[in-house]
């Protein structure tokens, strides 16, 4: 008798998810309808179909001379420039993010300064990459140098955030121990904090480098160097085989870098 009652009670007590599910569907549904209302699906024109066809044809048969030549305008040179931009940009970003990360870490500077740090990082992050690119093109003139600066600044946001996470869970005991040996503040940072963070920092930097290579491929659109300018030029001139060569350049380099980056980071993580 008693047992029956409990079962009955438990049945009534079962968590009621229905409301949440209905609400979710309603919200997603209405947002979808609202979005669809603004987007008219264009009928693909004859021209469009031809273009898509040509692009696929070109991807199978890209301009091989371009893809393999070592001349300055060739794809290998352009990709080298792209990767170089990403590489220096990552180093620049890592260096700029370091002081900001220490400033933004609550356990290092306290509530007030960490708020200021986080605020400035958020402000930097708001600038879309290519707006930064356009700004730097006006500062340093067009070319890969502007790209380096752009990538550097664009990396700050994410790198600071990742750094802060690792700084905020360091073991303070080591610092206490160094304090007891008579080390000064700089030495405490160098020997108490940095060794605890270096593996994380390296892993984050490699990860960001991977992202930066992708970002650097589009910088050419605003004149900040890299393969993007070639790609856009070839596409707007309807030179599909040249565009396809550039696309293959991007695909190959990004895949190779992703492969290497994943392996290094996995090795670092397993050494934890």
């Amino acid at each position: 008798m008693n047992k029956n009652l409990t079962v009955q009670e438990m049945f009534e007590k079962q968590p009621k998810h229905h409301l949440a599910i209905i609400l979710t569907i309603l919200v997603i549904g209405s947002l979808t309808l609202w979005s669809l209302s603004a987007i008219s699906v264009p009928a693909i024109s004859e021209g469009g179909i031809t273009i898509v066809k040509s692009i696929f044809k070109a991807l199978i048969d890209p301009n091989r001379d371009w893809l393999f030549t070592l001349r300055p305008i060739g794809i290998p040179q352009q990709m080298l420039e792209t990767v170089a931009i990403a590489f220096l940009g990552t180093i620049l970003g890592a260096i700029l993010a370091l002081p900001l990360a220490f400033l933004s870490s609550r356990n290092i500077t306290g509530r007030f300064y960490s708020f200021i740090g986080i605020l400035s990082v958020t402000m930097i992050r708001t600038f879309p990459v290519f707006v930064l690119g356009l700004m730097f093109v006006r500062v340093t003139g067009p070319g890969p140098f502007a790209g380096v600066m752009t990538i550097g600044l664009a990396s700050i946001g994410m790198m600071t955030k990742l750094y802060v996470e690792s700084i905020e869970d360091i073991d303070k005991g080591v610092i206490e121990a160094l304090d007891a040996t008579g080390a000064n503040t700089l030495q405490k940072i160098r020997y108490g904090i940095i060794p605890q963070l270096s593996a994380n920092f390296i892993s984050n930097s490699i990860y960001r480098f991977e992202i930066n290579v992708r970002n650097a491929t589009i910088l050419g659109l605003v004149g900040a160097g890299g393969i993007g300018s070639t790609l856009i030029w070839a596409m707007s001139a309807y030179r599909w085989r040249d565009a396809a060569a550039a696309l293959w350049g991007i695909i190959i380099v990004v895949l190779v870098i992703e492969f290497i980056s994943t392996r290094i980071r996995r090795k670092l993580a397993s050494a934890e």
Partner: protein, 265 residues
């Protein structure tokens, strides 16, 4: 020599940790500070290298007065001669054992050297010698976090030895170790104390460990010294006075006499 002259410590929140303590510790002594947790034994030890500042009375360590005037460069220079070992070892787990020991040499290095981590050959040999003294030379190039707790505490001890200290302070050095390794670590402390004539001052929760290894015992209760004398003079009545109650299993490491006997051999 360490001299407490009517030393007291009141924390900013008003807690009185030490009331008025006077005592002298000669070079080369092995002192254990015992008492209930919160009695002030940790405070007593940490006052000596000014991890905590004195608020009353005068404390002199090797004829230097440890007061508010002692700060910045002078404080750092003063601390170099005092090693400290912590309950949680406080090592950098990710780096090698020898780098952890070498961290003790950092305070002696100049700016450029310390920034780049350029240790001299002498420093490295010194660090290796220190590791040899605590018997874990073969672990020098292993990562610190791959070592057992007892081994990590030995690395921490080696780190303080590499500092060339005249005093080693130990804050609950074996509290987080199992009884067998605790014994081994305490033996290392004993050897360092005898061979190198370094004063060892350890605050210890476990009475049996304290009585076994220290030659002098200081009992603290409610911020006052209630006993100060050779460890073989400590008896059950005295312990009752220090602890304000009978000794329980909590206060000793070896609950089982036989187990303790076995360790001897």
């Amino acid at each position: 020599m360490i001299k407490f002259d009517k030393v007291g410590k009141t924390y900013p929140d008003g807690t009185v940790a030490l009331k008025e303590v006077s005592l002298e510790i000669e070079q080369g002594e092995f002192v254990a500070v015992i008492g209930l947790s919160g009695a002030g034994k940790s405070t007593l030890v940490k006052l000596i290298n000014k991890m905590i500042g004195v608020t009353k009375g005068t404390l002199t360590v090797n004829s230097i007065e440890v007061n508010n005037e002692l700060k910045g460069k002078r404080l750092r220079k003063f601390r170099r001669k005092i090693g400290m070992v912590f309950q949680a070892f406080n090592l950098v787990g990710r780096t090698s054992v020898i780098r952890n020991v070498l961290a003790a040499r950092v305070a002696e290095m100049n700016f450029v050297e310390s920034l780049l981590g350029l240790y001299s050959k002498d420093d490295k040999i010194k660090a290796l010698e220190a590791l040899d003294k605590v018997g874990i030379l073969e672990k020098a190039y292993s990562r610190a976090d791959q070592l057992s707790g007892g081994q990590q505490q030995r690395v921490a001890l080696a780190r303080t030895i590499a500092q060339d200290p005249s005093i080693i302070l130990a804050d609950e050095p074996v509290a987080s170790l199992d009884p067998i390794t605790a014994n081994q670590v305490m033996k290392d402390f004993e050897r360092v104390n005898k061979d190198l004539n370094i004063t060892v001052i350890a605050n210890m929760h476990h009475v049996d460990m304290a009585l076994k290894y220290a030659r002098r015992v200081i009992g603290i209760r409610d911020g006052n010294i209630v006993f100060d004398g050779p460890s073989d003079k400590v008896n059950e009545d005295l312990l009752k006075e220090i602890y304000g109650r009978n000794i329980t299993d909590e206060d000793i490491m070896f609950k089982d006499e036989d187990e303790a006997e076995q360790i001897e051999f």
